[in-house]
Symmetry: C2
Subunit: 244 residues, 2 copies
């Protein structure tokens, strides 16, 4: 992990674009900007480990960050994979300032590192910050509710279909060409599948809907067919709203 003083203009821009800091006073914003440090990580670089004291939280500037937990018998469970503009570890201030998961870079990544203590102070002192924090955690909660629903009732192919549909750029087009955001092993982990389950799910999805896969490119020839196969087994409807 290589801390570096970033140009403050870029830092300020990234902070202003993140919903957590919406409508804050200039004083609080300046407080965050001045205390933020840019760090870069290589692939598999550890940001923090489960049960570490949460001295910092992070805003992802670029890259994919894997959040995971390890069971007593050593199995790694991927909880989430986050990307540009998303926050990592900010909820720890309400969990005895302990990170309840580990976080590492799934590929080369750049993040802003901000002291948790400052977030805590601003939440205590500025009402708008507390409201933003509620909004932030509520969105995470809602996303997780959907994920629990999917894990409960969708089969592996449908969960994979759902993952692909979220990457389709236009809900109204018949076809779509998608680049997989990270490697298939990681997609399998993110979807809670063993590699062999993932391969079977992919084969079934190809057979049931009109998709083709070539390395990390996916050609969806009939988006409606993929929607029909996947979204009938969901309480939402396509295209998903934010956080669904």
């Amino acid at each position: 992990m290589q801390p570096a003083l970033a140009p403050k203009n870029n830092v300020e821009q990234a902070i202003r674009q993140c919903g957590l800091f919406d409508d804050l006073s200039q004083t609080s914003l300046a407080h965050f900007v001045q205390s933020a440090t840019t760090i870069t990580l290589k692939k598999k670089g550890i940001i923090f480990l489960q049960d570490d004291r949460a001295e910092f939280f992070y805003l992802i500037l670029q890259g994919w960050i894997k959040m995971f937990r390890e069971t007593l018998d050593g199995t790694e469970v991927v909880i989430d994979i986050l990307s540009d503009g998303q926050l990592v570890g900010e909820t720890a201030i309400f969990e005895d300032t302990i990170h309840n998961f580990s976080a590492e870079a799934a590929e080369k990544a750049t993040l802003l590192r901000i002291p948790t203590q400052i977030l805590k102070q601003v939440i205590e002192s500025e009402h708008q910050m507390a409201l933003n924090m509620i909004q932030n955690i509520t969105q995470k909660h809602l996303r997780q509710t959907h994920e629990i629903e999917h894990l409960n009732i969708q089969n592996a192919s449908q969960r994979l279909g759902c993952f692909l549909l979220r990457l389709c750029p236009d809900a109204n087009k018949k076809t779509a060409k998608i680049q997989l955001p990270y490697d298939k092993t990681l997609i399998a982990s993110r979807l809670g599948m063993k590699p062999e389950t993932f391969s079977r799910a992919l084969a079934k999805l190809k057979a049931e809907t009109d998709i083709e896969i070539n390395n990390n490119m996916v050609q969806v020839n009939n988006q409606q067919s993929l929607v029909h196969y996947t979204c009938n087994h969901c309480s939402g409807s396509f295209p998903c709203q934010n956080n669904e």
Copy 2:
């Protein structure tokens, strides 16, 4: 649903015991107490439906409340089952005041019904209320993180074992006698299992650990064996902390 004016003493006591209202000003507390109405519901009585406008949120005084969603093809997915002292529907104020799930009484139940508008007003006007709300949603978020982990890596028998261990009153005793809190069909739904999966999981759990089941009573003859079978496949350790 039968609204009734409850003795205000009882209402006040229930509200004071709920963490969401900790350390609030007397004015805000009185506001909640005066606007709360006690309602009783028969088994399967609907509290609200998914996509209803959230005019009220609820504090469970007694009974089990099932929260669920329905998929496009009509399958019901149980998101959670809550009981005495827990809140239902309070997060809707940050979700465009729309309930994103349905709620019904799993058996006869009594709840306090409180206007969402008042919660919204107090969050806007009193900082402590906003802090309490953050704490409340963070705990839900943490509980869901554990649930996603379990759905990802535990098999059906382990998830059932986990459910039973949470009901064991004393982590240090060799044996435990547990009463199932609600019927087995509902436990299966809560654990995201079809009835036949639940039966197989129960049979396997009996074979692997020393438990006996008689109607709704479970005799755990070797708690350590149940812990070993279940908790090795979890990132936490037995006994669970709050919200795990």
